[in-house]
Symmetry: C2
Subunit: 457 residues, 2 copies
Amino acid sequence: MDAFFCPNRVAIFGSFKEFALGCGVIQNMLDLGYKGRIYPVSQSHERVMELDAFPTISDVQDKVDLAIVITPSATVPHIVEQCGQNGVKAAVVVSEHFAEAGKEGARLQQQIVDITIGTGIRVMGPNTIGVLNTHNGLVSNPYLFDSHNLRKGSIAYSSQTGIAAAQCQPLADRGYGISKMCDIGNKCDVDEVDIINYLADDSQTKVITMHLEDVKDGRRFLTAAKNLITKKPLLILKTGRSEAASKASASHTGSLTGNDVVYDAAFKQIGAIRVDSWQEFWDIPKVFAAQPLPKGNRIGIISYSGGAGVAAADTAAKAGLTIPVFSDSTLEKVSRLSPRKAGNPIDLGPILSSAYDPISAQEKALVDVFNDVNIDCVAIGMYVGRLAPKDYMIELFDRVIPHVSKPFTLWLYGPTLAETQELARILEGRNVPTYTEFETAVKALGAAAQYQALRNY
Amino acid sequence: MDAFFCPNRVAIFGSFKEFALGCGVIQNMLDLGYKGRIYPVSQSHERVMELDAFPTISDVQDKVDLAIVITPSATVPHIVEQCGQNGVKAAVVVSEHFAEAGKEGARLQQQIVDITIGTGIRVMGPNTIGVLNTHNGLVSNPYLFDSHNLRKGSIAYSSQTGIAAAQCQPLADRGYGISKMCDIGNKCDVDEVDIINYLADDSQTKVITMHLEDVKDGRRFLTAAKNLITKKPLLILKTGRSEAASKASASHTGSLTGNDVVYDAAFKQIGAIRVDSWQEFWDIPKVFAAQPLPKGNRIGIISYSGGAGVAAADTAAKAGLTIPVFSDSTLEKVSRLSPRKAGNPIDLGPILSSAYDPISAQEKALVDVFNDVNIDCVAIGMYVGRLAPKDYMIELFDRVIPHVSKPFTLWLYGPTLAETQELARILEGRNVPTYTEFETAVKALGAAAQYQALRNY
């Protein structure tokens, strides 16, 4: 499996005309800083983007670890076979029109499976965007994206769809980092179990979020997931719940989605954390990557708005968190700062608009709540705008962070999307997990508490 | 009630020192283009922001319709009383520290209630941001916001919290318009029923979204809401579901939130549409403001990604929509454009990356799906980025919109938040309701179909 994510020598099969997908892969790898060797394989080019090209894989006088194949589906089995015979360890088949596209495609896909058995080569896909590794600059994605700004980090994303790929997602606009991404596509060989087993031991990955439309082998999956969860959290977005969705899935990756109730029970049993939307898929893992685990499930809720606090308390209750009363000492201290709004949830709105030195007042209130013996984690909802502009908020968090050892999440909102997003990006660079909805910020802490409870158990 | 939203003469009570809240209200009204007369009432200023100020309300030699009061709580009852005695019809009490803040506050609030009974003046608040009317430039909000860019439209938002106010929300960054907004705060006099009755007959409002922590009088509320729903849709975000949230609500607006199950049943009975998050609160009404109602509940799902289509189908099933098979004629036509991905959901991804003239190919596919006799409404998920940049998407929708008479919603995503948001703003200006999650885009159509079913019934 390491050949998929950490190859030193990569061969690329595809069209290398200007703007063609083969060139896209090479460009993305150069942009992302890939340091290994790249071998374009082409019968019509001798040079591709200042690299020597080779007519076939056997002409490459080097030990290739990974092949990336983006050629018409009918040509793929032969290419994979030649790769296998020439000692290539792994192939990502980006090409589509296989099992997802009917009988002839299914036949071609079966040929690939037979080749993996015959030669020992492992295959990811077909019908996939494939792999991305921020730490070594590897990427099989043929669609150009703004890879310069992609941050190295510890979250791994695995999906069964190209929508979760870098060219579709504003990853570079965000401040948190990614370790690895993959799209397992039609899963003719490499499947979710291989990914789980590999990432369980990947030292660069602290948390895995996995999108699944189906599971190929329930027993193997449960065993692998259970083992992974003893080491790091596993978040799952399982789509294809409804009958119609199930049919759509069959035509899209050729897989059967199965009964949702069964999945739900199985995920619960092994301690996987189920997320419910693409937004949660991307954002919930941030709390695991950036923050310690909470010691318990008692949440403190801080906001600038009573109404937002009430809504957050609703979410907290649903997410399995309790909302304790602050200790007398905290109540006394914060009452001095924000009289009559000092309960949990606490509303710092009055400080924002009236305190003499609102940054110091908020700093004190935040630190008091964090240090409360009744509190294990804190969800903060804060405004960025005229009363509390970006630099003011950065100063506030720069002052608070050194005093904080409990996990927290931050919902940021304000009248200007650009300023809110820029602040989120900056704070995420300082390990503050930020959210565009208070509900998601609270739910993330619920997920962290759920994982910690599992470890205690 | 008209005095709250359409006053011709407004008196403002507050501090008028530089940057004080009284000046904030005036600045916001000037920025929003208020054409009526503004009378600052102040014993310490003769002129405020180039306006004549008056020591008391009885010194104003004009018939004042609305008073906006932002003075310390202890001074409020006297001010409201004087306003009532001088024929002012309505007062927004922005000041806080009333029933939400304990016994003494509750006593002051009761004094205000007594004055409304004694003098006939109506009071919104206390503890509120109050009113906003884009159509005449009225605003009682004392916090500055980017009001120049606020668009006139037909969505009314009512809340029990300042978080739903213009200084906190990126309303100016969005392309859809608002008719009226209000925060009913502690509801000492004007409550949700007054707002519902007023907006039911407001010709500038096509849809109402209401945040509630509690309902003061269930029977009156149900009667008023039922009547409104015969005329226009009512969406409700009811927070304070959990016990902890309920306690928080009491300390924030002094209200009791009650049993959530009872609310849920009541909302269903009258045909109110319940929304589940602040994001839905803001975004679901857009489909009602910008699109016709669907004739039935049969959805077509179009996206650039099989995986996204599957997830959207899940949401559609949960939202009460059915996902029919396309008619043979549609299947035949779209199969020519996107072979083997032509089912419902349909995946246009292959067109995007391979068609000779992708805009025309997508235009045809979209129009074919819209015209399908089996389809009542369409949810579209589309990427904006290198393969389909902003101007390309604008051209596509400019071509498609003239051929479309069925309602649709659009989920936009892409690698750059700024470009995605800019395109959303532009398309919303052309009556395309855009969403940041496919789930919400589908749910909005579910809400529209639900409302249409109620009308048929």
